[in-house]
Symmetry: C2
Subunit: 125 residues, 2 copies
Amino acid sequence: MSLEKVNLADKFARFDFVKENATQQRIVGEVNDCYVKLSKFKGEFIWHQHENEDELFLIIKGKLTLRLRDKDIELKEGEFFIVPRGVEHLPIAEEEVHILLVEPKSTLNTGNIVGDRTVPVVERI
Amino acid sequence: MSLEKVNLADKFARFDFVKENATQQRIVGEVNDCYVKLSKFKGEFIWHQHENEDELFLIIKGKLTLRLRDKDIELKEGEFFIVPRGVEHLPIAEEEVHILLVEPKSTLNTGNIVGDRTVPVVERI
């Protein structure tokens, strides 16, 4: 339990975007059964879904497309989208995007598709 | 379940700050067992706590002081603080502040202090 505030810009400055098509995530808070995570991303991730978890994407900087099976959700700074559990989605970003995520602690970045892009343990900063 | 994105500025434009020392809140999303709420606030609220709910305050515009019993948390745009369950807090804003809240659906705005400033039903926009 932290009784310190979080400055988003400061936290984003503390980790780097590493490689395309992978997620770089850090945990920056716990609220109820959820983590607050920051993510830097560029490229095209993989189609996946989370069976039991809704996932909130709030864009802090840049643009993100969340491709769903029937439409694209185009997000820019100051916009959020909640991917409901069970809904397949594919994150796409042409340029590096900074995202705040709120999702249950049980959430794997690749959801139901466990493979070489799965990051089971996310570092706290 | 909404499959639409939320633009924070658009949503904040859809309701007004009404009077000092009261909370004006709207529900703009559901994520797991939580609501995402937007709040416009100015003045001094009341000391209260939430017995079973952590409460995330992310500042979208302006400044907010969260007074705790042992220190003040000073928040500005781009900063958040999570008030853990059971921690007494008093929100204070000299000027109107716009806040994004993430908190369990069961959360009352006045927590354990039910009175004339309690708003049991929050409108969705």
